[in-house]
Symmetry: C2
Subunit: 251 residues, 2 copies
DNA sequence: CTCCAATTTCAACATTTGTTAATTCAATAG
DNA sequence: CTATTGAATTAACAAATGTTGAAATTGGAG
């Protein structure tokens, strides 16, 4: 059953969780320590600081943040089940900060343990590698979104993405999801200003596509929102998607 | 000497080429086949098609392209020495097309060989993993650039990035570099239109910061251009940079 | 050389987004 | 309950970018 109650049970859930053997799932679970609760704004891994551990997000939201000349930019978002700074295992120093958005529960794995896995578990290594490339695929979709979409569509797109990612791990419902991000943060993630994101939120609400208020996102007609935002979930490599790497199953 | 004349000699040059032992450099070199010359617009790896090989770019330029609703968007650029679709080894199917910009020379490695490396060479595996995360770091910087910079600065930023990446592999000179991208392509990579990129090229030329014409990029005052574009090269993980992972040296 | 096609350049106008500043609303401490 | 603070909302105006259509330039093919 792939250790369904383990600390790492959400890792790659909805993607290719079944690519892990029972042994691998148990091993992964055993190297994650007990979760630690941290408050809003906690810096999980700071830019340019030598990393010795990597963090599995067990509960809550995390943003990848780059502060530059007084402006705070969000270059990525992570949801429960994401190995948020596995990148730091190979890079050792990150180019950005990893920061909690709202309180969160964090599991930690030492890089010594990860190095053992790379040495002894080639298949699990490929799965871990895969999970970091999933982040890269999401980065590319954000680039695409920023290059070709207007602010209204960008907002819709990011909300659709979050719904799907949360749905993989069982945290979305038919009408939306809960999310601690403020309008300022949405502006930072959409490459626009707080004033403009407010205009845009109002506009999509009036279109009947999306409602956002105090921690709750409501999607009255998600298919319509996805069409409006030109959102297609393939790049998330979910189970059964066009791109999913079923080949990783074979150890 | 890390096999200085080998096919893979440009791989990670300027970054942590010295992280590879002679054995690893020779091994990497041995798994790359003879280079194949391909023309402009050649699709190295198509979106959603099962990949069986990964490609090392030996000469020329390559773009990561996502076509969507008639528009062609460039979500990444690759230069000689880049393992352009190593991502496809772990993902198996890519979310984007990998396309040559101008004629190019391509080396190829089968995924069977890569799987052997992952099984038998944990340190080399980490270095290959690192190289894909370098792409992710560049993706994040593009997101940052698109979120916070105006078109003039975006253009300057992307040109500074290319200069540094080409400089790592010895293909930049003091005053600029050669590049086959047309104004249309620069527009596609900056998230703007061909008409506007033309305005912008004119503007930065008049500022005395950058000249672009028929395949040649000239930077009369690169430090000034970098300041104007808010470009800082750390995220490229070059030798001696803030973020470079010197720790990967230890096998 | 001449012609042709692709690329670059330009102008006029429309739309989107940024900026500044003020106002309203919501949550919480006391 | 009230005061206070942070967040959300709105308005008016400025700046950046998109759109359309045309003209100029360039590099090759013949």
């Amino acid at each position: 059953m792939n250790n369904p109650l383990g600390k790492a049970r959400l890792f790659l859930k909805g993607r290719l969780r079944h690519a892990l053997s029972d042994h691998e799932a148990a091993l992964l679970d055993s190297v994650v320590d007990e979760g630690v609760r941290v408050p809003d704004g906690h810096v999980v891994q700071a830019r340019s600081v030598r990393a010795t551990h990597s963090t599995l997000l067990l509960d809550g939201f995390i943003a990848r943040v780059i502060d530059d000349a007084g402006t705070r930019n969000i270059v990525g978002l992570q949801v429960p089940g994401d190995f948020v700074d596995l990148h730091a295992f190979a890079l050792k120093r990150l180019d950005h900060d990893v920061v909690t958005m709202g309180p969160a529960l964090l599991g930690s794995v030492s890089h010594e343990r990860l190095a053992q896995i790379v040495r002894d578990e080639p298949h699990l290594t490929r799965v871990l590698w895969f999970s970091t490339l999933l982040d890269a695929a999401i980065h590319r979709e954000w680039i695409l979104k920023l290059e070709q979409l207007k602010a209204e569509e960008r907002l819709g797109h990011i909300m659709c993405e979050l719904w799907h990612r949360l749905n993989f791990v069982g945290l979305a419902d038919a009408h939306g999801f809960n999310m601690p991000l403020l309008q300022t943060h949405l502006a930072n993630a959409c490459g626009t200003t707080a004033v403009h994101i407010n205009r845009v939120i109002k506009a999509v609400r009036q279109r009947g596509l999306l409602e956002i208020n105090r921690g709750r996102v409501t999607m009255p007609d998600r298919p319509a929102l996805e069409a409006f935002s030109r959102f297609k979930p393939d790049y998330l490599y979910g189970e059964g998607s066009l791109f999913m790497s079923e080949d990783l199953r074979e150890p």
